[in-house]
Symmetry: C2
Subunit: 307 residues, 2 copies
């Protein structure tokens, strides 16, 4: 691991140095507001472990810990002492390399590390890419935790909070139904707005670009065709704005709705772009709750280009 | 149903009129080469049923009929006498309306009618779009058969045969491994070629546009992340050309492979465009095997636009 160069700007901004604090323990971390760590002379943030940070977040989630969840450690273990945290959408090889160069040894990712929802790896045992990635993580004793179910079940949902804020819709959004009642714009304007606010090059869409959009059903990520269609059916939005679709499910439903004469459009943002603000939110949560720890949000960036 | 106006050009071209033939039966249809129907005075093609046509195709597939398959009737029944057939990728509302206007009452689609793989409809019972579509099909006594598993297991795979021919790769393609060993081109050229041959406006891709592509892994449709990744791992192609992906599966694998230094690109054609030639193939099969029947391929067209 390299020294603290990477996080220096962050530390300078906050006006303290992590090494100025001394000697912590899991019990204290779990039983106290984490904010109390900042500047507490009895606490060494260098002693904070992966497990303690996981438990601190999970401890805020109603009904947690969950008996069934994909939010497990994909690499490393709970006892690793954290030198710095990177939050991101995907722990891509590039993000891992950046974390290493930054001296961080804990990545909190929103999505899988090994290309499937449950991060099953037995089927990848002989795969070159898997072997390369897992060996790199092991060599650097890097912990990767997926925080998906917990951050969505957190109150507020960290992903939705981040995305809605980035879109400038905080005042228009109702968490209970994922509906943003925005000032009416055309579909074309809505697409431009979403692209600009979320840093997207190109979106896929279905609809008349002049259609008025006011009631937006916002479902970042890949919620699945049935959940997307059931939500459309229930809330009758002007437009579904989502991260990813199965073309043969949601896209075909929207096409049929339009042929039927229904006012319903679809904007597919791309999975990464649609949820990346959730990883920024996570970085903000960590800075607030564990202020001495070194935290950086490293965007996974959009995977796909268009031609 | 309307009269034969729609299929007249097809009938004229073939030099016979379906009504010139008389009196058929399922036993004859199943036991005889269907070609023998053409011009057989004892056969009336107006008496051919949906079930007989299904059975004729299924009868050619090794190991068929399958005990578990999604290739069921989504509307109508086996006993409906066929007035004309439309082949397509999706029995969209628009395709159904065209079939009705053409006087056809049997749609053979490659993909689901009701927005999920198994065409389960209980969850859609109260949905406006589902109700509209199913009522339209019922009102016009329209049969819809999904021919997915059977056409893929047919020898040759009707979809792959159609797609490979459309891409001009018949001489380069090996069915056993889905690999086309094409004359080397850059990724950019391969994208242009695929778009032009398959009538695609925009594709999504990952890769260096100057990368040389010779070994193409061709997987139209939505094979699923695990199958796509396992095939890449096994065959080590220069590029995977596919219909649809889960972004958080295949796209992330390809990104990591590239960061690792592997020469691997990805072209995502779009689901409909990637398999539509399979429905043209099906139309050709019907014309050849049941030459008196009225058959038209109606493209479902790409669902998504880009901005």
């Amino acid at each position: 691991m390299q020294p603290n160069i990477f996080f220096q700007h962050e530390l300078d901004r906050r006006g303290f140095i992590s090494t100025a604090t001394k000697a912590a323990g899991a019990a204290l971390l779990l039983n106290s507001p984490l904010l109390s760590f900042a500047g507490t002379s009895s606490t060494s943030l260098n002693d904070v472990t992966v497990g303690e940070i996981m438990d601190a977040f999970i401890g805020e989630v109603p009904g947690a810990p969950f008996s069934t969840t994909v939010d497990t450690l994909k690499s490393g273990n709970r006892d690793i002492k954290v030198t710095g945290i990177v939050t991101t959408m995907f722990a891509t090889l590039e993000v891992i390399q950046k974390a290493i160069s930054m001296g961080a040894n804990f990545i909190i990712a929103h999505e899988p590390t090994f290309y499937n929802h449950a991060d099953e790896t037995s089927w990848l045992a002989n795969d070159d890419v898997y072997q390369f990635k897992s060996a790199l993580l092991k060599r650097h004793n890097m912990a990767v935790w997926r925080n998906h179910d917990y951050i969505h079940m957190h109150i507020p949902d960290g992903v939705m909070t981040g995305v809605v804020a980035k879109l400038g819709w905080t005042d228009y959004y109702t968490a209970q139904n994922n509906i943003a009642l925005i000032p009416s714009v055309t579909l074309k304007e809505l697409i431009k707005h979403s692209k600009q606010k979320l840093g997207i090059e190109t979106v896929r869409y279905i609809g008349n670009t002049e259609q008025a959009c006011k009631k937006v059903l916002l479902m970042p990520g890949a919620a699945g065709g049935r959940r997307q269609i059931e939500s459309i059916s229930k809330h009758q939005p002007d437009v579904l704005v989502c991260g990813e679709i199965a073309e043969w499910e949601t896209a075909e439903y929207v096409r049929d709705a339009q042929t039927k004469g229904q006012q319903l459009s679809l904007i597919v943002l791309g999975h990464v772009a649609s949820e990346e603000p959730g990883s920024e939110y996570m970085a903000g949560w960590l800075r607030k709750k564990i202020p001495g720890i070194k935290v950086e949000h490293v965007p996974a960036k959009n995977s796909l280009a268009f031609m």
